[in-house]
Subunit: 209 residues, 2 copies
């Protein structure tokens, strides 16, 4: 019998980020692939040396799988993708396509959308990253107008990352990109996403007590 | 006899970005691993549908290897890493460590440093991403004060990405992080980096003609 893998997240977060803490990406992947997982918590308020030893930037999530620990949600997803072809096809072309779109979500979309969102928290107008964000979303919209999922003609971890980057309410509302919106809706309608979302919401609600 | 792989980059760029166009990451990896490669060019000035078909954001680099094409420098490096254990160890723990630090370079460091740099082009003071950047660099400095290379006790593709993110002159000059600076110097002193750098500089100089 294999030990289930463990997803580590915070014990609690404020209401704002609930539903968007990045452990949802890992939960979602496990739900899609039917991988058994436990969820364990580190303190949100007290991030000590033990936490930094496992996540050098003091963030979550990270996973433990036997004697392997791994941080960065994108790295965790590529690691999990090796466990199930529901998350990444096994042929070299399909694997390359999944890999490039996984990195595109992290380094072409989130590299603009996350700082744009962050700046928007304190600045309503003239966000200096706005033009760049809209350009990236426009390119992505053109791609998604032509296909259901990003890579290899199937749902993959690249779609988990890209959807999670795009479904942030302010990002979703940026510009007029119909293909992006129906992509987000299509992905979030998957039962595995809903189970992951409900799981995260219940986890943080339990931390309120 | 295997066909060499092809690294695609621009035919020319202005002097500013020379030495920093991301094909250098792929050249560097190939030089470290002793992989034979060709370099081919797409037009910097005219980015048509054929370019977007291979790189949906109209950027470079991308690679061709037989019937596989792959874009995003981070994805290309993880793809190349499978070809040589000089770029990533073959044991599961070493591979996981290489993967997490590769993604950390892309999504924990560049996600802050690249937009910070971009905003700095038009705004000298009060960069809204400054505090976040310094915090990330401080965490990374603490890690690099304890080790020579990021992952698995050896130089890997994670070091190529992290070094290339950090050696951007403004990023290198941000804050006082002695471990980061000696890490950058150590990595850039490698003959493979120097060959990659010289190769890129010669390529764009040839485009001036």
């Amino acid at each position: 019998m294999t030990e289930p893998l463990t997803i580590w997240t915070y014990d609690w977060v404020p209401p704002g980020p609930r539903g968007h803490v990045r452990d949802i990406r890992l939960r979602w992947a496990c739900e899609e692939a039917g991988l058994t997982y436990d969820v364990k918590s580190v303190s949100f308020h007290d991030r000590g040396p033990e936490h930094f030893a496992r996540q050098p930037f003091g963030q979550v999530p990270f996973i433990e799988d036997g004697d392997i620990t791994i941080f960065e949600s994108g790295a965790c997803l590529l690691y999990l993708a090796r466990k199930s072809e529901k998350l990444m096809p096994r042929d070299p072309k399909g694997e390359a396509a999944t890999l490039e779109w996984t990195i595109a979500a992290l380094n072409s979309i989130e590299m603009v959308s996350v700082p744009w969102w962050f700046i928007g928290l304190s600045k309503d107008a003239n966000n200096p990253l706005e033009g760049w964000l809209l350009q990236r979303l426009q390119h992505l919209d053109a791609v998604l107008a032509q296909r259901e999922w990003l890579a290899a003609g199937q749902f993959t971890v690249a779609d988990i990352l890209m959807t999670d980057a795009l479904r942030v309410p302010k990002v979703r509302a940026a510009g007029e990109f119909p293909a992006l919106r129906s992509y987000i809706d299509r992905a979030c309608a998957r039962p595995a996403f809903q189970r992951a979302y409900d799981g995260q919401m219940a986890h943080f609600a339990a931390g309120d007590r």
